[in-house]
């Protein structure tokens, strides 16, 4: 984690993809994800003026989730349950090559099941498994203790399992 302040172009280049995927998995549709990413990068741009070096990941993901929450409230709606075409295909990359999957196909309704989770659980699971943050980083970003992060991830996965079996 760099001690010096990054430029916002660096943030956009190095982290834009992860921000977009975080937004995509939280909202379920590309337009919302795209809007959210733009919003986050704008806030990062303004926020960098006052940023003091600390935990960059925590700072970035706090801005990201604030933007997401504000957006959901402003539009007064649930993230839509659009069914993206690509999730029906067989798996592309598996981030952890050491693990053996029991099945070779992703469940058809995985994205919808994610969207059916309570926000806190969905966010924790997405931050852990899509963005790849550690529990400490998630705790920092969501301003809750690590124990709460643990609980939310566990309960979120259990709920997903219940919905998809």
């Amino acid at each position: 984690m760099p001690d010096s302040k990054p430029t916002w172009e660096e943030v956009a280049r190095d982290h834009g993809r992860r921000i977009y995927n975080f937004a995509y998995r939280l909202t379920g549709n590309p337009d919302d994800a795209s809007d959210l990413m733009q919003e986050v990068l704008l806030r990062v741009r303004r926020g960098l003026a006052g940023y003091t070096p600390g935990s960059f990941e925590g700072w970035l993901w706090r801005i990201t989730r604030n933007a997401f929450l504000d957006d959901v409230r402003r539009r007064k709606r649930r993230p839509t349950v659009a069914f993206p075409e690509d999730d029906r295909t067989t798996i592309g990359s598996v981030p952890d090559p050491g693990e053996v999957l029991a099945e070779s196909r992703l469940p058809e309704h995985l994205q919808q099941a994610l969207l059916a989770l309570p926000f806190d659980f969905r966010e924790a699971v997405v931050m852990c498994d899509v963005v790849g943050l550690t529990y400490d980083e998630i705790a920092d970003a969501t301003a809750v203790p690590v124990g709460t992060v643990r609980s939310r991830i566990h309960r979120g996965r259990k709920m997903l399992r219940g919905m998809l079996e």
């Binding site: 926020g47 940023y51 099941a113 709920m159």
Partner: protein, 310 residues
């Protein structure tokens, strides 16, 4: 597709055991209280010595957003953003960054007793600070929202009392955040003042933000109570303090104003003016003041004399 998912969600939710208070420590109690939806109206009162203030208020929380009505006006809260209305315009203040919350280990839960309040099953819990009883909460079992909060001062008297007089859990209310703001301010971290300590009386300096053009806000918390110390240039005292109560800590004089939710303490040093505002009890305020820059102009006089004579 959607129809198949939703019934499973409901089944999943209904078969999950609800956490009981017996499983939770104080940290879980405080966290849990932030989550449930409810609507309530209540009264809050604060007393320190002869100073006392009370007010009524109304709160609605739905789906993570809150609406609060009180003597300071109406507010809408969502995440880290607080919005208030003046005429037709909305003004927003957003906390851009804050440090993670943690609870001081000086607190623990004492006894837990089943009870009822407002006709609802509830649990009375005592918050202990070491050997001392510091607070009493009566927590609604269904929503885990505190229906009553009492904070005690050092001699066991009630410092603050807050109670719901009406309460509905999980109201069907749709709230909407305003779409545009006349002003949208962000609180972002700035370099802490070198004059303020990293901790005082068990409260940690958790964040420092800018106040106006040349002041700072130092936010201290122990996880249960909190206070901000605002530091500005010398000689600044708001008109409200003209008739404030004077009190002493170790023979040093301060001024205080008591409001229903907070105590305000004002003092000046030779170089700066200070305003402390928080919900902490009087013995904690006195302890914190001992750790903060001390008022007084003796330093000014001595420097002046020294400059004149040697």
């Amino acid at each position: 597709m959607i129809r198949r998912v939703i019934p499973l969600v409901l089944v999943g939710l209904m078969s999950m055991p609800t956490a009981t208070l017996a499983d939770e420590g104080l940290a879980e109690v405080l966290e849990s209280a932030m989550e449930a939806d409810f609507h309530g109206s209540g009264v809050v009162m604060c007393t320190w010595g002869e100073d006392s203030a009370a007010t009524t208020y109304e709160v609605t929380r739905s789906d993570g957003m809150s609406m609060v009505s009180g003597p300071a006006g109406d507010f809408v809260l969502s995440g880290s953003l607080t919005a208030s209305q003046s005429g037709a315009d909305w003004y927003a203040l957003e906390v851009g960054e804050w440090s993670a919350w943690s609870l001081s280990d000086r607190y623990s839960l004492g006894s837990r007793v089943p009870t009822t309040r407002l006709g609802r099953p509830a649990t009375e819990v005592i918050v202990m600070e070491g050997e001392r009883k510091r607070a009493r909460l009566v927590i609604d079992d269904e929503s885990t929202v505190p229906l009553l909060t009492e904070v005690f001062n050092a001699d066991g008297g009630v410092f603050r009392f807050a109670a719901m007089v009406e309460f509905v859990a999980a109201p069907v209310t749709e709230m909407e955040m305003p779409q545009t703001f006349m002003e949208h301010e962000m609180l972002l971290p700035v370099t802490p003042s070198p004059r303020l300590p990293g901790s005082a009386f068990g409260y940690s300096l958790t964040n420092t933000y800018a106040m106006g053009d040349s002041g700072t806000q130092a936010f201290y918390t122990d996880g249960l109570f909190s206070f901000s110390v605002f530091e500005a240039g010398r000689g600044i005292r708001p008109a409200e303090f003209d008739s404030a109560t004077r009190f002493e800590v170790d023979g040093i004089a301060y001024s205080r104003i008591v409001t229903p939710s907070h105590v305000w303490v004002h003092w000046s040093t030779p170089d700066r003016s200070y305003m402390l505002v928080g919900d902490l009890p009087p013995d904690h305020i006195e302890g914190a003041l001992r750790g903060l820059p001390k008022p007084g102009f003796r330093g000014v006089v001595m420097r002046f004399l020294f400059r004149l004579f040697g």
